[in-house]
């Protein structure tokens, strides 16, 4: 078989996969509505404020609730014990210069 034919087949297969995955994404997003609704409802009912993603420390568990002091309160020099701290920045409302907060 011609080399270019092999290449075109490879491209075609990949593009077909990309197309199929796009369709999968569309369907999956639709199907996810139920689960997302469940979680949103729980957030409302229990008055939750954060995703349960990083359970290592207080300020990683409740990202939105941390204040200026929180990341430093354990040890002034060692800012980051946990890998999560290097994935997640302090929330925007802490980084903006607001005199009220």
């Amino acid at each position: 078989m011609r080399k270019s034919s092999i290449y075109f087949i490879y491209l075609a297969v990949n593009l077909a996969l990309v197309f199929l995955l796009s369709v999968h994404a569309l369907i999956a997003v639709k199907d996810a509505a139920y689960g997302l609704g469940l979680k949103a409802e729980m957030v409302k009912k229990l008055e939750l404020t954060d995703l349960c993603l990083f359970t290592e420390a207080r300020y990683t568990r409740h990202l939105s609730q941390s204040d200026f002091n929180t990341p430093f309160q354990d040890h002034p020099i060692s800012f980051e014990h946990f890998p999560s701290g290097s994935i997640v920045e302090p929330p925007p409302h802490l980084r903006m210069k607001k005199d009220t907060l």
Binding site: L11, N14, A40, M42, T49, C52, T55, D67, Q73
Partner: protein, 375 residues
Amino acid sequence: MKWLEKQRYIIDFTLSSLLRRKTKNIALTLVYTLVVFVLASVMFFAEAIKKEASIILRDSPEIIVQRLAAGRQELVPMGYIEGIKKIRGVQSVRGRLWGYYFEPLAGSNFTLMVQEGGAEKGKIVVGKGILRSMRASEGDILSLKSYKGDWVVLRIMGALSSDSELVSSDLILISEEDFRSVFDISKGYVTDLTLQVRNPRELPNIAQKIKDLYPDTRPIVRDDILRTYNSIFNWRSGILLVIMAAAGLAFIIFAWDKASGLSAEEKKEIGILKAIGWETSDVILMKFWEGTVISLSSFLAGIILAYFHVFFTSSTLFGPVLKGWSVLYPNFRLTPFIDEAQVTTLFFLTVLPYTVATIVPSWRAASVDPDSVMR
């Protein structure tokens, strides 16, 4: 059709040409694919989590009032509730009771929470992560050591759904009486306050008024919560910056190999092509395909693998980084929220520069006179 046939011929030649250095080019393609894979995986994961967070947290409390003492979060006296209720625009105020309990057996923190009108004394409902950490099941007893020194005995009446793990995995829903027993908190205090307001546009004003009324408090509004999750996995933070830098470096190395000019042998070959009848544009076209064959193949393979990685295997390869030192980690399957613009940007960032780096240095060689090979 002639145009298509011509492209096929040029690709035939390009592939033959690349196959002459089989090992080098296969290795290059694999590494290229790997880099795209990592970048795309991070991109897919970050976008999906952010989108999910924005949907899930949209009904989080409108205002939360914390109290600080000497830089640490302190309990809020119940009296504050009365004062805040009087602020114009506030519809209702409620004291929240929640806190962290460290369980030595599991080696992790649990979040204890009192649900309004919720559990009875002695009974708890827990998140799935708790069951896993404690190797417990519904009906089991879970005893918590209180701050007074005695044990509070609780029975697990049920588990929060697996679907909700992303928000509930480490939760223990407990009665108010048991909560106060465990943490030895008197009835005069709550953890923090949640407010409902009549007009959401008044939120900043009301927040300010609360601050004025009780200067030791710190109000957090719903927007702050939502924006927190919009900015996680930001490119500028820590590990992601390192990943980006490494990827950028990798691409620079790939492009350098091409951009550092043609070898004498390559120049001679182009001379031959010109001599046997190829035009400058034909040579440039060949160089275009030389770059594109590798970069396009790698890009497509990379994003397809990344999609499978993030949405079918729940980012197993990122596990160690994401879980970090967490002992308790939620089981969840991300919903594939894809931002096409990001994919397109990734395409232009990964495919274009390499192709350009292949074409540009060849321009001069491609323009030689056809008879140069005879001189």
